[in-house]
Symmetry: C2
């Protein structure tokens, strides 16, 4: 039994993996963990647990991929992405419906503004981020010969809160090439560029591990773990204005990279 | 089906009575009501409901009553009270465990300070506030001959938030007699005295209707309906400092009335 790792005090257990899977395991809402702690301090505690999970056989799922073809080098690719699957007790609005909407919006905004990128902007809605990463693993395997043609991989997977900027894993040269782009995002307030030593997103990790510059949107996540992996991850948690800010941040960074005269340096 | 009347956005349905009881009825969490509203705007909506309530036969419950006997007129009574029962999906910490604790604390504080009131301070933990008011009805019936000996009835039933003061139903003369007491509560910040035309508490209503001056603590209730009648009404929602402020407010107002040379005027 673990105390729920969520941050809300609304008796909502946060769900996720429990290992080893062969041992019955459960997450308790913070309030119930508190109660057991208080009782345990007074003596022996007996719990009656009814656990109903099942492990079903794997089913086939699909990444959804759409290309806005590049005008000069359509074979060169800039990925903008989020993931399609979610924990089933909520509706996956912030984890990660928002990310999928943000990635789709980036392409839609370029279309609407009649901006044709030099390289291909590839929108990916990853499947199976939550349950082992089968989608991004399959993508990396299928596209192994074209990994070198991936200029950058961008992901949004921390909700739809106000975008503060980007966490990146790339060379100092690439960071230097990207920095002027942030000026464009001054009105949106997305000006942070933070270097990380790990992949800035779980779905782009195979690409980043193969040397592709990786970018994740840094969202204001103060309320994210109030709702993440709970029954309350529903659409009302997505603020339309903040979603638009994220779409702007993803569109600007994606288009900037897809329109550079030379691909972002490795 | 009604949209939950609670104020939190954590997919917690607020529970309460549904009338008429012979028609299946349920409260939906705000998020689910939103979803149905969106779907209904697009066409016909079908719901599958599994409702499991039962109406069980009435069982015997008890008001719990304790007297701190008055030194001069023990037959004259000042009631301080909260209610014992609660909705069963939470633990009833704010509705109304807090009220019972506050009323008990009032008597306990007087004992600890060796303050003996002139009239009897009666602590009542009412039974059955939530399900029809059987407890306070029985009290009024049992004590019908002594109603005139009840100097005042005080209740706390809006949680344990910071006490801002008191809502009262009493004569202008009684209000005037009570106003100087508020000076003592300046350090606690409980200085509001608000006249109401209805009983300032549901359990003291039979006494107030019979002419007994009634007093309810006005709590800061900004978060009260986030938790009220939900699974999240648990002890962690009670802030110890704010609970102490309530105990102080109840003790001061209760003792002041129980120590006046003449009973509070009707």
């Amino acid at each position: 039994l673990i105390r729920s790792v969520g941050s809300a005090d609304y008796r909502l257990p946060h769900t996720g993996f429990s290992y080893p899977a062969s041992v019955p395991a459960a997450a308790l809402a913070a309030e119930d963990a508190d109660l057991i702690e208080h009782l345990a301090a007074q003596g022996r505690v007996r719990l009656h647990l009814t656990l109903t999970p099942q492990t079903l056989p794997d089913a086939t799922g699909y990444n959804v991929v759409a290309d806005l073809k590049g005008s000069e080098h359509p074979e060169q690719i800039v990925v903008v992405s989020g993931h399609l699957d979610s924990w089933d007790l909520g509706r996956g609005a912030i984890d990660d419906g928002a990310g999928v909407a943000i990635a789709m919006s980036a392409a839609e905004l370029l279309q609407r503004l009649h901006l044709r990128p030099r390289y291909t902007l590839r929108v990916i809605a990853w499947m199976d981020e939550e349950n082992g990463g089968g989608g991004h693993d399959a993508y990396a395997k299928t596209h192994v010969a074209e990994i070198a043609a991936h200029i950058a991989a961008i992901e949004s997977d921390a909700g739809a809160g106000h975008p503060l900027g980007f966490s990146v894993k790339m060379s100092p040269k690439a960071v230097a090439a990207l920095r002027p782009v942030l000026d464009v995002l001054q009105p949106v307030g997305s000006t942070v560029l933070r270097n990380t030593s790990v992949s800035p997103g779980s779905d782009i990790e195979p690409l980043v591990d193969a040397g592709v510059p990786g970018i994740g949107i840094i969202q204001d996540s103060r309320r994210y773990f109030d709702y993440h992996h709970t029954a309350a991850d529903t659409l009302d948690k997505v603020d339309p204005q903040q979603l638009r800010e994220n779409a702007a941040a993803m569109a600007v960074i994606g288009y900037a990279i897809a329109a550079m005269p030379e691909p972002l340096p490795r």
